[in-house]
């Protein structure tokens, strides 16, 4: 058998099996349908992907909002301020009301042995000049540079604290700051 015989047999066979007429009807009917947006909308897979991305964006936005909740500079909130420092560092208190916690030399001597009484979580907002912490209730806690230096000297504060770090502020039974422990977690 040569190629011509194969070709002839193939063509004859093809004529015995024509495409069903319904296919043409359906194709032409489909072509006659007016313009539909549905044909040009993304498929189900893309819609699902877009939905998933939207969910991720919403979750990210919510997470970001939660992280930023301990606002360090919010004029809209009524902010209580606690100042922790030594007697000779008292700041000017004429502009705003502050809760002052003043330490004496005995405190410095006892820093190594003072025991914790309570603690609160906060975020370091600023560490230039006074160290400013903001707790989960948006209360500002200011710590004088000298006090921070002494805490670091007694290894009661991490020397590598950075703005934005979350910390646990530990106080003694008299409300004095005795330790600042850095946390890797978002505590607020």
């Amino acid at each position: 058998m040569n190629d011509n015989e194969f070709k002839q047999a193939y063509e004859q066979s093809k004529q015995q099996y024509p495409a069903p007429g319904r296919i043409k009807r359906q194709v032409i009917n489909q072509a006659k349908q007016p313009f539909s947006w549905q044909n040009y909308l993304p498929g189900k897979e893309w819609m699902a992907l877009c939905g998933a991305l939207c969910c991720l964006v919403v979750i990210y936005a919510m997470n970001t909002f939660t992280q930023q909740s301990p606002v360090a500079h919010s004029d809209a909130l009524e902010v209580a301020v606690a100042y922790h420092g030594y007697e000779d560092e008292l700041p000017d208190t004429s502009q705003y009301q502050q809760q002052l916690t003043v330490y004496n030399k005995a405190y410095k001597d006892k820093l190594a042995t003072l025991t914790a009484f309570h603690s609160k979580h906060a975020m370091l907002a600023k560490h230039e000049g006074n160290w400013l912490f903001t707790d989960c209730n948006n209360q500002k806690i200011t710590v004088s540079p000298q006090l921070m230096q002494d805490l670091m000297l007694h290894k009661r504060a991490d020397a590598e604290l950075m703005a934005g770090n979350f910390v646990e502020l530990v106080f003694d039974d008299q409300g004095r700051l005795i330790q600042i422990t850095q946390s890797r977690k978002h505590l607020c």
Partner: protein, 202 residues
């Protein structure tokens, strides 16, 4: 409607391309008839003239259907044929006028058929070019060419059918996504096996 439609179709093309679906392959087949098919398709693309589509369908539908029928069963062949033409209706811009409309049509058909086979696993898409499919069983000699053709392994059957549709070796290689040498081998074995299987009645 034509201009607005083409604008929207651009995004559809990107979508299909990104999803790894059919894009126009680079094929060698080109002839005066092919250019007239191109002009028909262009008319359909720009004006939405269904008569142009109908003319294209009448010219090519039986060829595509029979190729798919040889490669599968009547239901699958009909389904895939319809899907190929509906794809053309919905996204006519996917074909770029290169004088290779039939080759493009068969490439889309081939890919859709492979997808169908993988989904249903009803047939084996084999690359066995040297043997008959049922070598372990008794060969069924027959005088019906169609039945003899159906007994060939998938790859041989496909190469042979495409050659009977006047595609060049290069076109077949492109449609099947294999080297030209592989196509030649498949064709040689297909002819040899057909000679064993097909015994036309005098």
């Amino acid at each position: 409607m034509g201009i607005a439609r083409l604008g929207f179709l651009t995004s559809i093309k990107n979508r299909l391309t990104a999803a790894g679906q059919e894009t126009a392959p680079t094929l060698a087949q080109s002839s005066p008839a092919a250019s007239s098919w191109d002009s028909l398709l262009q008319r359909y693309q720009t004006t939405g003239d269904n008569r142009a589509l109908e003319a294209l369908y009448d010219e090519h539908a039986n060829r595509l259907y029979y190729y798919l029928l040889v490669m599968s069963d009547p239901n699958t062949a009909a389904d895939v044929t319809q899907k190929v033409w509906l794809k053309l209706v919905e996204s006519p811009h996917l074909y770029k006028a290169q004088g290779q409309f039939q080759a493009w049509l068969f490439t889309v058909g081939h890919r859709m058929l492979i997808d169908e086979i993988r989904r249903d696993k009803r047939w084996t898409y084999d690359d066995d070019v040297e043997s008959l499919p049922d070598e372990h069983q008794e060969l069924r000699h027959c005088d019906d060419f169609h039945q003899a053709l159906k007994q060939l392994p998938f790859a041989q059957r496909e190469a042979f059918s495409l050659q009977q549709e006047d595609f060049s070796l290069q076109d077949i290689a492109t449609i099947c996504n294999v080297p030209v040498e592989t196509v030649k081998t498949r064709l040689r074995y297909a002819r040899d096996n057909l000679r064993k299987l097909w015994k036309p009645s005098a």
